[in-house]
């Protein structure tokens, strides 16, 4: 046995040995040997020691500030939920994919039916399928659902009380939400008995390039939905924090969590101004994060986010309910890092992403399909993506242990670094007057775009390797079998909406739309402090009861609240 050596001595000895090896390589040493960095650009070390974690390991799982997990148990009693995103073609097409995946073992919590449904591009834009700009986009990247009647086709025969429906919308959330409520009423199910999620994603227009409401109106719309649900829908999760979109737009892990925390502060502040209590709204927030290529940074990002969210919400808003401090996460493995070249290789990437998300302690997951960079996933690709989760859950034994990477010097040090860097970003945004100000000025967009450019330049220069793209490139590749949407979808969707306009009660529709106009006009002029009466949501639900379509409801909102290019709107 050598003499008792201090950790500092151990590190010095390691460093000497490392430098001896480095000398042999001289100028030929790869960048990671001499200037190691995380993908976010954080400096890392080539080996870690106890002194890198001066505060020692974090608290137990389930203890504030929840670095190691929201609860004492992770997956021992219940796995994370497999939540593939579903949506294409007509409502009945989406329904058949829902049924297929449910048969294949897609389950939510407590074995419940769980559907993660995405609306199509026409709906996202707040249009109806008979609008001239809809051609080619009906039922693409989502389902062609534009009315309470379309929902009847989609959910036919399912018991709404026994399922959880995630409505993946962009800015048309009010319309889709109102139509779901109206459809449920027709089935005799009151709002209070519905379970599900709305995205409430207005904040994404800071970094996602679609037309949008102006940022101030978006924040008000988010508060309006939260206000209604807080009063009437105790089982409804109101708001999702779209960190994934930051990653997809090219943002770093630091930006992904930092921007979501900055928006969280803004949103809770706005809810309080509208008379809502932080402890009432926060337990109904959820998060969607990407899991991308830098394995450890992506795991630590999640651990860091749990810590800084809990501490920030406790310190700023004085919340006491642990659920107000928890970060409930739906992981979407990164689609942006998948390649069109050698697409089957994407299965390997997504498996690593999903494995990282499992180690980070996610609550639910969607794994991107291997053909994501090419087209809407085929059935085979969608099923394989589900199998990735099932193999990790059933075969690897990682579900037996909570936060299995805790205590690794590297993991703890990197978690600290990510938390510090994200809090610095939040401080920067707060100094600019908050998230909405930093959105309006274009600052958020520009920092994300700078990261995207850095990433691209690293790929183009070969500094960042992507197999099949800038190394190990294959020759001519066979054209893969791609999924296509039946061209009949367009014709039928247009026919249905025209039929709906003719068959609905015109007087009831006119009355409801006139009331919606009035509510939207008043909403547009209202300050956040004047919200809380939920007049706009109630009017939208009335319109949906009268079979108003997505394009009709959104047309009114766009007219009164403003609508235009993001970032400049």
């Amino acid at each position: 046995m050598p003499d008792q050596e201090t950790p500092e001595q151990a590190e010095a000895q390691w460093q000497a040995g490392y430098d001896r090896i480095g000398k042999r390589f001289g100028d030929q040493a790869p960048a990671q040997a001499t200037r190691p960095q995380s993908h976010s650009g954080l400096p890392i070390k080539n080996a870690y020691f106890p002194q890198d974690v001066p505060a020692g390991p974090p608290e137990a799982p389930g203890a504030f500030p929840y670095t190691r997990g929201n609860l004492a148990a992770q997956y021992q009693f219940m796995n994370w939920a497999n939540q593939p995103v579903i949506g294409y073609g007509l409502p009945e097409h989406t329904r058949s994919r829902m049924d297929l995946l449910a048969e294949q073992g897609m389950v939510g919590y407590f074995g419940s039916r769980f559907y993660n449904l995405v609306y199509d591009l026409v709906s996202h834009e707040g249009l109806d399928p008979d609008h001239p700009a809809a051609r080619g986009r009906i039922g693409q990247c989502g389902m062609a659902v534009y009315s309470a009647q379309d929902m009847a086709t989609l959910f036919d025969g399912l018991d709404l009380r026994k399922m959880n429906v995630v409505h993946i919308t962009y800015y048309q959330v009010v319309a889709a939400f109102a139509q779901y409520i109206a459809y449920a009423e027709r089935q005799g199910v009151p709002p209070a008995e519905l379970s599900g999620n709305t995205m409430n994603w207005y904040h994404q227009s800071a970094y996602v390039g679609m037309s949008a409401f102006p940022p101030e109106q978006g924040l008000k719309l988010a508060v309006e939905l939260i206000s209604y649900c807080t009063k009437h829908m105790p089982r409804w999760n109101t708001t999702n924090f779209f960190g994934y979109g930051v990653e997809e737009a090219g943002g770093t892990a630091v930006q992904e969590i930092g921007l979501m925390l900055a928006f969280g502060i803004e949103l809770v502040r706005a809810c309080e101004a509208a008379g809502l209590a932080a402890d009432d709204v926060l337990p109904r927030f959820g998060f969607q994060f990407a899991q991308a290529n830098d394995f450890f940074e992506e795991v630590c990002k999640i651990r860091a986010m749990r810590r800084i969210w809990a501490t920030t919400m406790a310190e700023r808003f004085g919340v006491t309910n642990p659920r107000s401090m928890h970060v409930r996460i739906h992981t979407h493995t990164s689609g942006a890092v998948l390649t069109a070249q050698q697409p089957m290789v994407n299965l390997i990437r997504t498996t690593l992403h999903a494995f990282g998300a499992a180690l980070a302690g996610t609550q639910a997951m969607e794994v991107s399909a291997y053909d994501e960079a090419l087209a809407i996933p085929t059935e085979e690709a969608a099923t394989l993506a589900l199998r990735v989760q099932q193999v990790i859950q059933e075969e690897t034994n990682v579900t037996a242990v909570t936060d299995p990477l805790a205590g690794s010097y590297y993991v703890e040090a990197l978690t600290d670094q990510l938390a510090t860097a994200a809090l610095a970003l939040v401080a920067d945004i707060e100094a600019q007057g908050g998230y909405v100000q930093a959105q309006r000025s274009g600052w958020i967009r520009s920092v994300v775009e700078d990261s995207a450019e850095r990433w691209r330049e690293q790929v183009d220069s070969g500094e960042r390797k992507i197999v099949g793209l800038n190394c190990y490139v294959a020759g001519e590749e066979a054209e893969p079998q791609l999924f296509t949407v039946d061209p009949e979808v367009e014709r039928i969707a247009v026919e249905r909406i025209k039929q709906l306009r003719v068959s609905r009660d015109a007087a009831a529709f006119d009355r409801a739309m006139a009331a919606l106009e009035l509510a939207a006009k008043e909403f547009a002029d209202a300050a956040i402090g004047q919200l809380g009466q939920d007049a706009l949501i109630l009017a939208a639900i009335d319109a949906a009861r009268a079979d108003a379509t997505t394009g009709e409801i959104m047309g009114v909102l766009k007219h009164h609240l403003g609508w235009g290019a993001p970032h400049e709107s």
Partner: protein, 134 residues
């Protein structure tokens, strides 16, 4: 001094994926091109902007499907406006079979996922010069 190459880069507003095309806008500017960037709902808007801005090149990015009608409408609108001296290029998530259709429509090149910005700069430079030499 040669006139600067003027490029309109645009994408359908329904398509949320603007990372690639915004990056390309930066690289085009770095290469000395004058770049106008817009979102559009209808192809007519693209033609109007292209005429107003007197561009040499229209680049349309699409990563969410629906690119075929967009290019059909755009090429028809260009013909209707008697514009035949503008180079039209495409980019984004466009399957190989659709690339062939776009080529037949008169789209000069399609830059898919992983194509380098340099290849787009080189292509535009070469083809705009060829056209102006005619």
């Amino acid at each position: 001094m040669a006139k600067k190459i003027r490029v309109l880069l645009t994408k359908p507003t329904q398509d949320c994926h603007d990372r690639g095309v915004r990056y390309l806008a930066r690289k085009f500017r770095d290469a000395g091109f004058e770049v106008v960037f817009t979102n559009f709902l209808l192809a007519d808007e693209v033609v109007t902007t292209a005429v107003q801005e007197d561009v040499d090149v229209i680049g349309v990015s699409s990563s969410s499907g629906g690119h075929l009608p967009v290019f059909e409408d755009l090429m028809a609108a260009l013909r209707a406006a008697d514009i035949d001296d503008v180079l039209v290029i495409g980019g984004g998530v466009i399957p190989p079979a659709d690339v062939r259709v776009l080529t037949e429509l008169g789209v000069a090149a399609v830059f898919g996922p992983g194509a380098s910005a340099e290849s787009a700069v080189a292509f535009v430079t070469e083809h705009v010069r060829e056209r102006s030499a005619l």
